[in-house]
Symmetry: C2
Subunit: 331 residues, 2 copies
């Protein structure tokens, strides 16, 4: 059952399609009397705009893509909320695309751009950003958020990961720790390599020798990966007294792992996370972490995209938002 078209409404109201279109869009003047007639017909027939046709004609969809690697990671949820908030009264809707790090799906979603079904994208996903370099993605309006390929010339919104990690380590050092381990994820990710740098900076600044042994790698960011890393952590020859994880999810997994290994946090092992997801306040012990302004990151990213949509030739900008140490119980 196809819904009514503009032509049928026009007929019903005894006017031309152009007139119907005019009252629908409300931009041009229409005599109040005819307007009323049209509105009536629209309701009578349960007419709904066919956005496909409209978009085909106007070449804009008023839809924005947000590509996230994994919606299971609470870190992204708040960013998305920020985006939604910033975009909402601008007449745009947000479509979330979970890529799962799967290049195929990423491609498919990016195709929504090239196939004109979305006007622009915000990408929280590293692989896609990298593809952009090699592909034609650059021709479309999009902005990278939190993670990007430094060689892609694209607007970027994030934090100073290096400084943030350095601050974390400095805090730990201030607490008297000298044997500080680092639980990182894949350093192909920009944030991971930057935070590694910051970790090294922090150590160096304190005159502590860097040891590769103390750098652990997790193969994902979920709780389980954090828990799994504990075994390696406590088996280290000179057991560290503190560990800094690149994400709260990892850190929280470690909390549990340490508990099972009968180690007390922070006395036997201090634990520090990164992100400050909502859960960080709820763990036992509550997680000390470095906070990213998730909501603001989302808002800024949205604003950057909107700006680019408005003026496609605007210069590419990068904005770094401030981070903040959240001292709680775990370190």
């Amino acid at each position: 059952m196809r819904s009514a078209s503009i032509a049928q409404v026009a007929e019903h109201a005894g006017v031309s399609v152009a007139t119907v279109s005019r009252v629908l869009n409300g931009k041009q003047a229409v005599k109040e009397q005819t307007r009323l007639r049209v509105v009536e017909s629209v309701q009578a027939m349960g007419y709904r705009v066919n956005q496909l046709a409209r978009s085909l004609r106007t070449d804009e969809s008023r839809l924005l893509l947000v590509m996230v690697p994994d919606i299971g990671n609470p870190f992204y949820a708040q960013i998305v909320q920020g985006i939604n908030a910033a975009v909402q009264d601008q007449g745009y809707s947000v479509l979330l695309c979970e890529t799962g790090g799967d290049a195929n799906r990423e491609r498919r979603y990016f195709d929504l751009l090239s196939s004109r079904r979305a006007d622009g994208a915000i990408c929280l996903d590293p692989y896609t950003a990298q593809q952009a370099l090699h592909g034609e993605a650059l021709r479309f309006p999009w902005v990278a958020c939190c993670e990007f390929d430094s060689q892609a010339n694209v607007p970027y919104v994030g934090i100073d990961n290096r400084a943030a990690a350095r601050d974390a380590v400095t805090y730990l050092v201030g607490k008297g720790h000298t044997r500080i381990a680092f639980l990182n994820s894949d350093t192909r990710f920009m944030y991971a390599s930057e935070r590694l740098q910051g970790y090294i900076d922090g150590l160096e600044q304190a005159g502590i020798a860097f040891s590769a042994d103390y750098c652990l790698q997790a193969d994902s960011l979920d709780f389980a990966a954090g828990k799994a890393a504990v075994g390696r952590l406590i088996a280290l020859p000179e057991r560290p007294t503190a560990v800094f994880a690149v994400s709260d999810t990892l850190a929280i997994g470690m909390l549990r792992g340490l508990h099972e290994a009968q180690l007390r946090v922070p006395d036997d092992m201090a634990v520090m996370g990164f992100d400050d997801i909502a859960l960080a306040q709820q763990t036992y012990p509550a997680l000390t972490t470095v906070a990213q302004p998730m909501r603001k990151l989302g808002e800024q990213a949205a604003r950057a995209l909107l700006k680019q949509l408005d003026d496609p030739l605007a210069p590419t900008t990068a904005v770094l938002l401030p981070h903040r140490l959240m001292i709680r119980e775990s370190a």
Copy 2:
């Protein structure tokens, strides 16, 4: 910079648009030689299908909507993963819509259906389901998952909430508890009212009198709401020895709240959750809960939607998947 159209490709290849269309769709026979010429031109010009035009013509978008109230709730993440898995090799892509319980946004997203930009929807969101009754949503293919309006005649996938809650209470009773509190959310939600019923069933079955005092209400499902409820819980005249929460997030918040109140779990207060989100294994103490088969729920919902898309006149069905008790440390 508009991308190439089918007409330009046709010209470039020296064939008609019809022929180009045919090789693009691969359904009809085209002489191998011409096919090659066309394919070459397509690549040469970097041609991409304009899906708007195609959808306008064919009246299908190959896009599916998934409407979730809150992607910050990890419960939904796994369901979405199940949906993605089931849909992926069927040539459909999933678009996630976070409604935030905001009726306006829900409306806007549902409009994607009526405006032909999506072929169908899976709705995890109660309000929308209710609106469906009054609106025209019934004309479009969609299925409700986990939560729905019992009066809406729409395919439904979920679990037997009442039996599941009863089982939880029965387990608690078996552990010797007789003063069992219940932390519920708004009973306008179907799952909430059903689980309340189950809680009552469980009590009754054990010959324990139901007391409204023991029924707490949280105003949201997040950790903070759970933590906030602890104050009311422990202030209860005859303090309960166990509490059953309608969601893991709530239960985990309570874990923290109880810790701050210096109460030990499960000795001073047993805590039981609902859902079995990934985090439930990571808390301290690890959460005893009733597991929903999230992934399967998503898969089934997707399958139901696909079926309906395939045969719009297929009868409305409801499928209930089995739940399972996960005994861990907190109760």
